[in-house]
């Protein structure tokens, strides 16, 4: 071949490399991890949302990472400690404080400041409920954006109420009403001589979901976990003791909870509701779609009703229930912070959070979706406001308080979880279990 031809070929090849190379070089792969991917309806929704993102950002490819609800904290913590970990992931507020303190999360404050304003002209962070922003920040720096925000409410099966001769349109307003209903709902449905349906189902296993089912009972009795300065255990107050005893005696004394409660995790409890083994449970936005998926014949959206958590007679606490908050975060070891931020922003955007509601019935922590900005003339997402369950859940947000935000929280709540187990199994009396738990919590906090 002549030298001229060689030069031309060389130039063409270099040209091609320069043209195509950058395209390949710029292909960024982000790892996105979410326990919701293990739930069919959520998985579908998330995949669709990601597809939209990838279409809008062709240079970014998103790889999905599945993790189980119970193990996610462990998995993320170990990966992040080891210098790895997902780029963007979904976290439960339960562990937010300890993750921030351990430095596992990427500081996104600068990204937020660069964003400027939101779609209706105010600060970028304005749409979110203020209390949710507190949970994702420390000392003025932000480590994540709030995700799903819902209050815990009481779900009841109208059909079972009717069968037991109870009024279907009157929810229990006090715990005494609740107990009376639960007793009547605990009966032998198929007439074989054995009780096969119970009034109430709840979580007794060691699970992150325990916190959401026990806290409303505690709060609605006027109790709290810690003193306001978060320095000491407050479970030794009369209110807390009353709440604890009530919760335990539902099982040990009144028998309105099915046997084996200490092995039940949230999934089992939802299954109990779906198979009509129980008539009432505490749940939130995610409950109905999951129950529907477990047993479509139940026609969950017709048969179930939601109502605020009952209160204890004689007390009017300011907060009667707790709120669930999930957070979207960036791992500190990410190689592509800007790309990760884009994904984060996308997952928490108004259109996406409306989609999460449509597909998974979860309420957003954005007030321009769940309501709260009426003063600015902005109404929330229509479909959400007219949904019979979402209405109740959103309405209870004003009465919902988060659990204490301390870095020792996972250990503290497990101590309470264990005390509940010990009392459920009658290994200790409720008073004993609670006072020992309190002592232990105080030593954890020292």
């Amino acid at each position: 071949m002549s030298r001229k031809k060689l030069v031309v070929i060389g130039l063409v090849i270099s040209g091609l490399i320069f043209a195509i190379g950058p395209c390949y070089a710029q292909k960024i792969t982000l790892v996105f991890s979410d326990w919701h991917l293990t739930e069919p309806h959520w998985e579908q929704a998330l995949k669709e949302g990601i597809a939209v993102f990838e279409a809008e950002n062709p240079e970014i490819k998103v790889k999905l990472d599945y993790v189980s609800y119970a193990e996610k904290e462990t998995k993320y913590a170990t990966a992040l400690e080891a210098g790895k970990g997902p780029d963007v992931f979904h976290l439960h507020a339960y562990s937010m404080r300890s993750f921030i303190e351990r430095g596992y999360l990427y500081d996104i404050t600068e990204f937020i400041e660069k964003e400027g304003s939101c779609w209706y002209g105010k600060d970028f962070l304005d749409p979110w409920y203020p209390q949710t922003l507190e949970l994702v920040s420390k000392d003025g720096r932000y480590y994540g954006l709030p995700g799903d925000f819902m209050a815990m409410v009481l779900f009841r099966n109208k059909k079972l109420f009717q069968e037991a001769g109870l009024p279907t349109d009157i929810p229990p307003r006090t715990w005494d009403d609740f107990l009376a209903y639960a007793k009547k709902l605990t009966r032998d449905r198929n007439n074989d001589g054995r009780v096969d349906t119970w009034g109430f189902g709840t979580v007794g296993a060691i699970s992150p979901g325990f916190e959401l089912r026990f806290t409303p009972v505690l709060f609605s009795h006027g109790g709290s976990y810690l003193t306001p300065d978060n320095k000491r255990c407050a479970l030794d107050t009369p209110e807390a003791k009353r709440a604890f005893k009530f919760f335990i005696e539902l099982y040990t004394r009144y028998g309105v909870i099915p046997p084996g409660v200490t092995a039940r995790n949230p999934g089992d409890v939802r299954e109990q509701l779906a198979t009509e083994e129980v008539a009432m449970i505490l749940g939130s936005g995610w409950t109905v779609p999951i129950v529907d998926g477990l047993n479509p014949d139940l026609k969950a959206s017709e048969v179930l009703e939601a109502s605020p958590v009952p209160v204890a007679a004689g007390v009017s606490p300011k907060y009667t229930t707790t709120a669930w908050l999930s957070t979207w975060v960036i791992g500190r070891n990410t190689k592509y912070p800007e790309a990760a931020w884009k994904l984060l922003r996308h997952q928490t955007s108004k259109p996406m959070t409306e989609k999460w509601f449509r597909d998974a019935r979860v309420l957003s922590s954005r007030r321009d979706v769940s309501g709260g900005l009426e003063s600015l003339g902005i109404t929330g997402y229509n479909e959400l406001l007219f949904d019979k369950f979402a209405r109740v859940i959103a309405g209870e947000l004003a009465h919902a308080k988060f659990v204490p935000q301390v870095k020792e929280w996972p250990q503290i709540i497990e101590t309470v979880n264990t005390a509940v187990q010990e009392a459920f199994t009658k290994a200790k009396s409720p008073e004993q279990a609670l006072s020992e738990a309190c002592r232990r919590i105080n030593s954890i906090l020292k």
Partner: protein, 292 residues
């Protein structure tokens, strides 16, 4: 070649070197790190020497519970491994047909990973869907569903029983080997002298088995102290803290609560205890194998 210029006694060092390098890297150095960690304040960014963790440990009821539970577990399983292993070994040692077949059968559970045995037994213990309650109720021995793994008093025995299934074959094999090494003439002579079966057992069998027993018990104790997979799959330490053996406690502190320093403290303490307890056995084994 150069190798042969090295003196024989130094050659020996070369042969054992790779082994020691690996031991140091994977066991020695991390152990040192853990010890250093245990003297670091919890969640601290820098290292400052403190005894705080150990002080806290001594006052921690959950730790002492774990200590008690671990002793219960190790003691229970080792003793049962030994008793059942001995009985089966004796049976296998006698004049039976198809000995090979039975021996294969007897060792089978030990080959299964303890995670799998944990899972199978967990399902067997399931109150409503499991086979154990089913058989008990069918035979009329009980009339309600027994909560094996959820009941604080039954959880530990249930776990021990599952581990016995998995673990006795190993002890049995060692004891069987020991039994087979005993010369028949001893028994024959004893019988001629008019000794009963029990007497020959007590005065011939047991003494000859001493070394095998020591080895089996020592190894078994050490391994049982380190058991993790079985408890993790069966109960995760629950209900409450009733099956929280120390490996489970350390794991939780480390990977659930992120109290790295405290976890190291617990682990170091338990390692020391294990070391002290096994030292006499070790001495026996090392001395025995020296035999030169």
């Amino acid at each position: 070649m150069k190798f042969f210029k090295i003196k024989p006694c130094h050659q020996g060092y070369l042969f054992i070197l790779p082994c020691f390098i690996m031991l140091f890297l994977v066991l020695g150095f991390p152990a040192l790190m853990a010890v250093v960690n245990s003297f670091t304040p919890i969640w601290a960014k820098k290292f400052t020497f403190t005894f705080d963790n150990y002080v806290k440990l001594m006052q921690d009821p959950v730790f002492w519970n774990s200590f008690r539970v671990s002793l219960l577990f190790v003691g229970g399983t080792v003793i049962l491994h030994f008793l059942i292993g001995l009985v089966v070994a004796l049976a296998l040692n006698s004049q039976i047909r198809a000995r090979k077949f039975f021996r294969v059968l007897a060792l089978l559970p030990w080959t299964v990973p303890d995670v799998i045995s944990g899972l199978v037994w967990r399902y067997m213990y399931n109150p409503t869907q499991g086979i154990i309650n089913y058989l008990l109720m069918k035979s009329g021995l009980v009339d309600t569903y027994i909560e094996w793994l959820a009941s604080p008093s039954l959880a530990m025995p249930s776990v021990i029983l599952a581990d016995v299934w998995r673990g006795y074959p190993f002890v049995m094999v060692i004891l069987l080997a020991g039994l087979q090494a005993i010369p028949r003439q001893l028994y024959e002579a004893a019988e001629v002298d008019g000794a009963s079966a029990i007497q020959s057992f007590w005065y011939i069998t047991i003494p000859s088995l001493t070394r095998a027993i020591v080895v089996a018990l020592a190894l078994d104790t050490i391994w049982q102290f380190r058991r993790f997979g079985l408890i993790y799959t069966m109960t995760q330490g629950g209900p409450g803290h009733t099956t929280e053996i120390f490996s489970m406690l350390v794991y939780k502190q480390y990977f659930k609560f992120f109290n790295f320093e405290y976890a190291s403290c617990i682990a170091v303490f338990m390692a020391i205890i294990l070391f002290v307890v096994s030292l006499p056995y070790l001495k026996l084994i090392v001395m025995g194998s020296k035999g030169e």
